[in-house]
């Protein structure tokens, strides 16, 4: 029965479905928001592995649906995430955020199933534009700025990607999106385009800049999609590119470093996204079957626990309106359920056994170990220490315990708690029963996460980290500061560019305008009385030239010379007279107030003579030179 | 504007002749130098002479704004209509020879050119007068 139903493109469900949202109201809208992902999920379950929806547009082949074991896990988790995020945001009255979020989901699905570069670029751009409103809806100045930088940076990345695509097409003659062979300019352009999406340093600053500025519900969506799509496209095109191993390992630690000195709870989480994506990127770089499996599994788990983590501070922000660690504290009394659910997320990201982070992260680390990348291994383990330290210890400690900031608070709305609860359940479920995740991975999994050895090592590592935290916990309290990051460059450059446009460029524009206005004016002035204009022009030119070469005053150092050559004096005198004549003529013209100054026959003769002279000159030039 | 009785009288005498001459040139268009444009300008010039020698308002009463617009449009439409007429009878735009009249094609052409000349004449005479009167209005008021 069901095999006869032709599947619908998941992206279409969300994008077209999003357009219906503004038409609905109240309870109906709420039901619609949670049913749509369910419908899409069922649809996805019946999607066979194949290539669908191939269109030919303007000589290019656009493949919208490449469904295989690589893209399906991402499809599943994106739709699950859409459900969770929609549930979390269901209490919002307006439609704008819902629409933007669903289009973001749709575009991400589109990017995941895209089989060629053009449709991929299409959906990546759509992602940029649909995610930006989730930041703008915060409606405050810093959010506007951050959203602006977010779009501009992604457009920059997109431009590089587009340049890469165009080059790729020029060289290879096709736009199929598959593994790129190393070398060539387009290899690097496309890679940078993807690295921007995956927030790999030094192209990562948009993430820590923009995500914390999103709305309480928007950031949950934001955290899930863009970077994971980045990881997916890297897997597709650059699996096994050595440079990614190092970028990923450094990235994992980089995020942790910034998390230490961060004061804003959600920004701290944003830096941990960078850190966690680092694991995936490193996995992509290793490129073995196990590493790729690990990267995909980690992306899957990451979306769940990171959403949960963003939901916690989001709920706190929703209830209290505060997000800075220095302004929070002591909330465990009023928001205990939020605390517990948040801790599930924290333990997951720290890869504590029984939580989902453990079953995926250890796969990547093991892959690094099996490949013998010692330094990478050390960096990844170090990053996991830092992750535990900040997400699971520092952030909840300063939000929910520490000193009591005396904030009035209560539990967030029921739908938020429900959404967090389901997410937490999924985290635990996958952590306890990893086979369900391992079954959908592209390559067969022969990795066993739960061995006594690995469990003990992990618990020992984290317990001693806890000891270190306990000893130094006062040292890492938040400070009311912000951190310099690579966004410094383009923030400063952007300001400079805007200044340049507002000042020198504008002045230049004015100058160009004025010059042409003068030219036109001069033309008019000339046309009003050409003879007089010519005479004036000749007079002033004469005066000008003479003044330059002879000097205005007769008492200049050239006097001796001039007295020897008497004509200079005379020239100078004549020039002054010419200048006088010119002034007089202008005065007369001013007196006449625009009336035409009728000239006698002599000017006509002068004009004729001038024309003749010009003609003779022309002949001379033509025949003599 | 300065006018005198002498000027006014002469103008009154000259204007009818001017207009007659203009009309002559219009209708002689097909067979001799001249045509709609030149004749139209001359007739228009007679209006201008009137405006110069009397004053603007008297010229306005002779050819009011509405009349000028009507003449202007009618002339142009007549011209376009005659061109499009050729399309109706299956020819090309302005291909007068094809119009089915009981005459030789050359004669049909001549006739149509005469008609077109008249149309253009009407158009131009209104236009010439309008141009002057509009420009003069700006300064006068």
């Amino acid at each position: 029965m069901i095999e006869h139903i032709f599947p619908v493109h998941p992206a279409a469900i969300f994008i077209l479905g999003a357009l219906v949202i503004p038409l609905l109201k109240g309870r109906l809208k709420q039901i619609y928001l949670v049913t749509l992902p369910v419908v899409a999920f069922v649809n996805l379950l019946y999607l066979p592995h194949s290539v669908f929806w191939v269109h030919h547009i303007g000589g290019f082949e656009l493949i919208f649906g490449r469904v295989d074991s690589m893209s399906l896990p991402f499809g599943y988790i994106f739709i699950i995430m859409a459900f969770l995020g929609a549930l979390y945001a269901i209490h919002l009255k307006g439609s704008g955020e819902h629409v933007a979020a669903f289009i973001l989901v749709g575009a991400s699905l589109g990017a995941v199933f895209a089989g060629d570069y053009i449709s991929l670029y299409l959906f990546l751009a759509m992602m940029t534009f649909s995610s930006a409103p989730l930041i703008f809806y915060r409606r405050r100045k810093s959010a506007t700025g951050a959203g602006f930088r977010y779009i501009m940076f992604h457009l920059f990345g997109g431009s590089l990607l587009l340049a890469g695509i165009v080059l790729h097409y020029t060289f290879t003659g096709h736009t199929h999106f598959g593994p790129l062979e190393s070398g060539g300019l387009y290899f690097y352009l496309v890679m940078i385009g993807f690295l921007v999406k995956a927030a790999v340093p030094p192209f990562h600053a948009w993430l820590s800049d923009a995500y914390p500025e999103g709305t309480a519900t928007g950031s949950v969506f934001l955290s899930a999609f863009t970077t994971k799509v980045g990881v997916y496209v890297l897997i597709r095109a650059f699996a096994g590119a050595d440079i990614l191993i190092w970028l990923g390992a450094i990235m994992a630690v980089y995020g942790v470093v910034y998390a230490v000195i961060e004061n804003d709870g959600r920004r701290l989480l944003a830096y941990h996204i960078i850190s966690q994506v680092g694991y995936m990127v490193a996995g992509v770089g290793m490129g073995t079957q196990m590493a790729i499996n690990g990267a995909i599994a980690h992306a899957f788990c990451h979306i769940l626990y990171k959403a949960l983590l963003f939901m916690g501070p989001g709920a706190v922000l929703y209830v209290t309106g505060k997000e800075k660690l220095t302004e929070l504290g002591g909330l465990y009394k009023t928001m205990p359920i939020t605390l517990i659910l948040f801790m599930v997320g924290g333990l997951s990201i720290s890869a504590v056994p029984l939580f989902n982070g453990f079953v995926s992260k250890s796969m990547i680390v093991a892959a690094a170990g099996l490949q013998g990348e010692a330094a990478v291994y050390i960096l990844l383990v170090l990053a996991s220490v830092g992750t535990f330290l900040h997400t699971c210890l520092k952030l909840p400690y300063y939000t929910f315990f520490a000193r009591d900031a005396g904030i009035e608070a209560q539990e967030p709305p029921r739908n938020m708690l429900m959404s967090m609860g389901i997410t937490a359940f999924l985290c635990l479920f996958i952590g306890i029963y990893p086979a369900i995740l391992y079954n959908i991975l592209p390559y067969p999994v022969d990795f066993v996460p739960y061995t006594i050895e690995k469990v003990v090592e992990k618990i020992a590592l984290l317990s001693f980290t806890f000891l270190g935290f306990w000893l130094l916990k006062d040292k890492i309290a938040g400070q009311p500061t912000i951190s310099l990051d690579t966004d410094w460059f383009y923030r400063k450059a952007g300001t400079a560019f805007m200044w340049f446009c507002r000042n020198p460029a504008l002045a230049f524009a004015g100058w160009v305008d004025m010059t042409f206005a003068r030219l036109a004016g001069g033309f008019l002035w000339f046309c009003r009385n050409p003879a007089s204009a010519l005479a004036t022009g000749v007079d002033s030119m004469f005066a000008f030239v003479v003044r330059i070469f002879v000097g205005r005053q007769r008492h200049s150092p050239l006097r001796a010379l001039k007295s020897v050559v008497g004509w200079m004096d005379r020239l100078s005198l004549a020039a002054e007279e010419a200048a006088k004549r010119r002034a007089q003529r202008e005065k007369m013209a001013a007196l006449a107030q625009g009336e035409v100054d009728v000239r006698g026959i002599d000017s006509a003769l002068f004009l004729v003579a001038l024309m003749l002279a010009l003609f003779l000159l022309y002949l001379a030039v033509k025949y003599l030179w | 504007m300065m006018t005198t009785v002498v000027i006014q009288t002469i103008a009154r005498v000259v204007v009818p002749f001017l207009q007659l001459f203009g009309l002559y040139i219009i209708v002689h268009g097909p067979v001799s130098p001249g045509g709609g444009f030149q004749g139209g300008v001359i007739v228009g010039a007679s209006m201008i002479l009137l405006a110069l020698s009397y004053d603007l308002s008297s010229a306005e009463t002779k050819v009011s704004h509405k009349v000028r617009i009507a003449m202007d449009s009618t002339g142009a439409l007549l011209f376009a209509g005659m061109g499009l007429l050729c399309l109706l009878v299956g020819g090309v735009f302005l291909e007068y020879g094809i119009i089915p009249l009981p005459m030789a094609p050359a004669e049909v052409r001549g006739l149509m050119i005469l008609l077109v000349g008249v149309a253009i004449g009407i158009h131009i005479m209104a236009l010439a007068a309008s141009l002057f009167l509009h420009l003069a209005e700006e300064h006068d008021t």
Binding site: I261, L461, L467, S483 | -
Partner: protein, 81 residues
Amino acid sequence: MRYLNNSEKKRIVRYRKHLFYLGLLLLALLEIFIPRDPYFWFDGLPVFYSVFGLLGCILTIIICKTLGRYWLMKSEDYYEE
């Protein structure tokens, strides 16, 4: 816990602390005695992960805070100027 007086609270905290230290000790011992299958020469060392956890945590905090104090941390209106 809410209904206990101060000295009782302190006692309970101290009791928990001791339990925690005991747990740490146990873990370190476990790490020495269970059979291991290391990837590299170093991660097979006894108590490697325990020491790595403790030192890694402390060093991370110290290095990052130092970096932050002298370079990266700026006042909140840094970009507004």
